[in-house]
Symmetry: C2
Subunit: 115 residues, 2 copies
DNA sequence: CTCTGCGTTCTGCTGGTAGCAGAACGCCCC
DNA sequence: GGGGCGTTCTGCTACCAGCAGAACGCAGAG
């Protein structure tokens, strides 16, 4: 009974965190400031800051507004996020089996309850 | 100058709609029932139904729980959704004819203001 | 040292809605 | 007719999205 639980951080990042990271990256690549994007998207600057830091859960309309203000489409955004998530996970669990989604993750409910 | 335009706005599907579609597709591919996934994810069956139909905005924890219950990772989910979104948009702009009863007024910024 | 620009974070506040239970309903197949 | 499956209606409560206003840290520039 060597492995009780992986007390290491559940490697899977949450959606809002990955999204925020990608949004920030995209904005900085464009050389925009928070206030620029916020104005264009029609939202407050504090709120955009929290979205980018993965603190708040933006609605689908918000996501569309920010993406539109950044000049990217949803599909591109998703692909970019997927890439980031992949890199993050590989970085963390370097020497485990490579991508095999068949494994039954032991704690789907646990994640929901944990947060 | 009057830069009014925007009447060419394709109805880019909202995040929650695309997500729901993909979740349902994944579940059906596995031959699971709503109640199976709901139980495994620890959520109610009505709510899962609404998520799959894109009617409610699930939190990141919910997404993780459902994805876990389906045995898929976030990255795979995102890529699948991106593909669906792409296909949808192509399908729409190719011939606008098919049964599209819902005249979705979904613009990025416009939606934020409307909401 | 001060000033300015940029982002972050704190304190509120309000409306909306996530998420649930319970039940009813339509549909299909036995 | 009955049972499995999904949908939808009516609530209901608790939580949080999303805002304004202001303050703060931290750079660099003068």
């Amino acid at each position: 009974m060597a492995e009780i639980l992986d007390f290491t951080r559940e490697p899977e990042p949450l959606w809002r965190e990955a999204l925020g990271r990608k949004l920030r990256e995209t904005r900085e690549e464009r050389g925009d400031r928070l206030v620029d994007v916020a104005e264009r998207a029609g939202i407050s600057v504090q709120y955009l800051s929290e979205i980018e830091r993965g603190r708040k859960e933006p609605s689908s309309e918000m996501i569309a507004a920010v993406a539109g203000a950044l000049g990217v489409e949803l599909a591109d955004l998703l692909i970019g996020i997927a890439g980031q998530v992949r890199n993050l996970r590989v970085q963390q669990s370097r020497h485990f089996h490579t991508s095999r989604p068949m494994g039954r993750p032991s704690g789907p409910v646990a994640m929901a309850l944990a947060a």
